[in-house]
């Protein structure tokens, strides 16, 4: 199952995983730009994702809390953890404050990638514009390639901030 990137489509992806599970296709693990599913019995379940960097000695406590809350750990990759539960289980984030914290953690890593990509692109652009000969030629190619990474990276950052803004609005509505 493909994904256009969790920063944009987290909710959509989780809903789709739930639809797939109802048809007997279960999440097995993360794959580059998507998820690997495996065939089994149809099952009604809901999915949630959390972003968190865990130290070795924190893992047990973290996963135990989820298990106690009715959430089964399915798979993890690069500080992303997916859980599933029976429909109607209490959501993993029950308040607006901590779900905004979740997005802030995500923004930190996404922004790091975007800034590195942007910096590389700028360096190539400088050489492309001000250098000459072979260096300019290499810089031109480098610029083209780095743009391919930078644009989606910046869009991802934008996506995260959009979600944060949406959450903040939701929070102020509750008050």
């Amino acid at each position: 199952m493909a994904s256009i990137g969790l920063a944009f489509s987290e909710e959509h992806d989780m809903k789709k995983l739930s639809e797939k599970a109802a048809k007997g296709w279960h999440l097995k693990k993360f794959r580059l730009a998507g998820y690997e599913l495996e065939k089994g019995e149809p099952e009604e379940s809901i999915f949630s994702i959390d972003y968190r960097k865990l130290q070795k000695d924190e893992e047990e406590e973290y996963f135990e809390l989820f298990a106690y809350g009715g959430w089964t750990h399915v798979c993890s990759s690069a500080n992303m953890h997916i859980f599933k539960a029976a429909p109607e289980t209490t959501p993993i984030y029950s308040d607006a404050e901590s779900s905004i914290d979740k997005l802030a953690r995500l923004a930190k890593s996404v922004n790091l990638v975007a800034s590195i990509a942007l910096a590389i692109t700028i360096v190539f652009w400088v050489f492309m514009t001000f250098a000459s000969g072979a260096i300019q030629h290499i810089a031109e190619q480098g610029f083209t390639y780095s743009i391919i990474f930078t644009v989606p990276a910046l869009m991802t950052s934008g996506g995260v901030y959009y979600h944060m803004w949406k959450n903040l609005r939701l929070k102020s509505k509750h008050i």
Binding site: D50, L65, Y93, E97, S98, K102
Partner: protein, 105 residues
């Protein structure tokens, strides 16, 4: 939850549960039992809040805990903050109760 000056309901419940040493999941079940399921804290929220309270030194690991079973309890600073918030909440309740009584007459 940038500032803990005004505790949210979730933070308040968690701190109230940690007036005595407890595991994370004991905090969850205490809140659920006490409120008869009308207030629940999700595991990701609970974990986030516990980490935050520990970082702000409002709770600490209790002597009984080991790497497998982490037990937390309020620090002196945590007790102080909780007491302040109880006073804040008392004012709210007092105002409402008095108003309701006057309104009945």
């Amino acid at each position: 939850m940038k500032s803990l000056e005004q505790l949210t309901d979730s933070v308040f419940y968690i701190m109230a549960a940690l007036t005595e040493p407890r595991h994370g999941y004991a905090v969850m079940s205490l809140i659920e039992e006490t409120t008869k399921g009308t207030f629940v804290v999700g595991p990701a929220s609970l974990y986030t809040i516990i980490k935050k309270l520990a970082a702000e030194h409002l709770i600490q690991l209790h002597d009984d805990s080991n790497s497998r079973r982490k037990v937390y309890v309020l620090t002196d600073k945590g007790r102080e903050i909780l007491l302040e918030d109880i006073e804040r909440r008392k004012i709210m309740i007092h105002l409402a109760e008095q108003g309701l009584q006057r309104g009945q007459k």
